[in-house]
Amino acid sequence: MAATTRPDLPNGIVAIVKHDCPTCVLVEPVLAALADDQQFTVYVQDDPAFPASIPGRIHDEDLAVSWHHDIETVPTLLRVENGVETARTVGWHRASWAKLTERSDLGADLPEMRPGCGSLSVDPDRHAELLVRFGGSVLHSRRIELAALEDVSEAMFDRGWTDGLPVVPPTEARVLQMLEGTTRAPDDVVAVVPPDLAECTVEKVAVNAVMAGCRPEYLPVVLTALEAVCNDTFNMHGVLATTMPVGPVLVVNGPIRRRIGMNSGKNVLGQGNRANLTIGRAVQLVVRNVGGGRPGDVDRSTHGNPGKLSFCFAEDEEASPWEPLCTEFGFAAGTDTVTAFAGEGPKVITDQLARDPEELCRSYAAALAGMHHPKLVLGFEAFLVVGPDHARLFAEAGWSKAQTVERIVELTTRPGRELVRGAGGIAEGLPESFADAEIPKFRPGGLKLVHAGGGAGLFAMMIGGWVAGSMGSDQVCRQVTS
């Protein structure tokens, strides 16, 4: 049985070596000399017969000593006093060994220094195995054994754990590797996830992130996204339960976009980028598996939309004529953030002839006015994802983001008389009491511009929202922490 707790080291001088390391072989005479007159212990990682000159050598066969004492290089030489490490040196460096051992006569015929080799306990090929051996006890999730004759993918479909696409089996090794993507403790509660209002730990998020196909470095974004949606402001419960075709739309800002390889360019809202797709998918899998939110149960959406599998993308901040989205929520540009918006599927606005911002705003307004229904106003919000070719028109004319939004909102403002029930022969609409007012499509803050998309194409994409405000969902932006 491998030691899952840190084994104590003996007092005196302790060396950790492996036979497969030329530097360890080189220093064997030094080790023999130390064994003559000191309280001295040698741990060998690979060959129990090495070093032959040290009869009392100990085979660190399961690498428990090396793992728990963070040995990264062999040879490592330690001084241990009263059970506590007080000094450490790695590789062979005569002066350092002399200082640590308080002996100046060591290795006189050896070169002045030789770098060491990698410890077996940090061997990438063994990393997952060692994580499970020594770190598995931190995982509290129920273990489920899938029999040898079961097809693992089919077994996970059968248990209802997937969104209809295959998932990666969440083995202990994969989940432990996923947890290396965050400094947060596995038992730390991230969110209370609707509809079951279940407390969700970092570990459960990691399990679902593995299934979604995330890499460990995506985990902080997944954790932040869950914090952003599982609260009364965003109202994930309502977003899930509504008959409308909406789900969380996640926009990522800050340097982390580039660090984890997110797409903000060509096909930004489409397929092909692992980070974009798996982060959004992990959030949805947590809602499904931890929250218990499944289509046909509490998810009552009439049609849904493909974005309910995953809808996550990065803003192209570098080429944007405007300040990034996160600044509208009080965060400085350059902050790693996730913004959550309850949105439906994206729709294109094509305008290939506009040559100034005013013309473009008119096209945007005409399209946005029809969002949900031309006669339904103020109740719904929208994200407008402006592509680089359109954005250039605003940049060249010096239009700020606020000015652009203001103009679009002006252009969507219509007389209440045209919007009330029955107007235009359409029953849908506002109560008659609005007939004499001038009414904008969007409430203040209800229209957000995001810069993203490929470098060719005179298009913008509009993403319509769900019921805005305290009866529905408000946009939430959270800072990503490691």
Binding site: R142, R143, L146, A148, V152, P170, P195, N208, M211
Partner: protein, 93 residues
């Protein structure tokens, strides 16, 4: 092929099976809570239900969620569970 051990991705709160509570033999003299989730026109359905239940000797208590888009507040759930023998939650759409 060998056994693959995976970690349960769910909240692990769901028991293997639920057992139904026994149906009451009669609703006479029972307090029945009617919870309106606050969808439009749900009250019309509940008004009718209340009339029918009262004809059969039940006492009806009416409740409503503040909004259908969010879970019922804890206090409301607690009040219903302490005051009522039975509860009917109505969804209209």
């Amino acid at each position: 092929m060998s056994v693959t051990t995976v970690l349960d991705p769910t909240n692990e709160a769901r028991p293997a099976e639920w057992s139904r509570r026994e149906r009451p033999a009669s609703i006479e003299g029972r307090v029945i809570g009617l919870l309106d989730i606050s969808k439009p026109r749900g009250n019309i359905f509940l008004d009718r239900l209340q009339t029918r239940l009262e004809e059969r000797g039940a006492t009806v208590e009416r409740y409503a969620k503040p909004t259908f888009t969010k879970p019922a507040p804890v206090d409301l759930r607690h009040e219903i569970s302490t005051k009522c023998d039975l509860v009917i939650e109505a969804l209209a759409d």
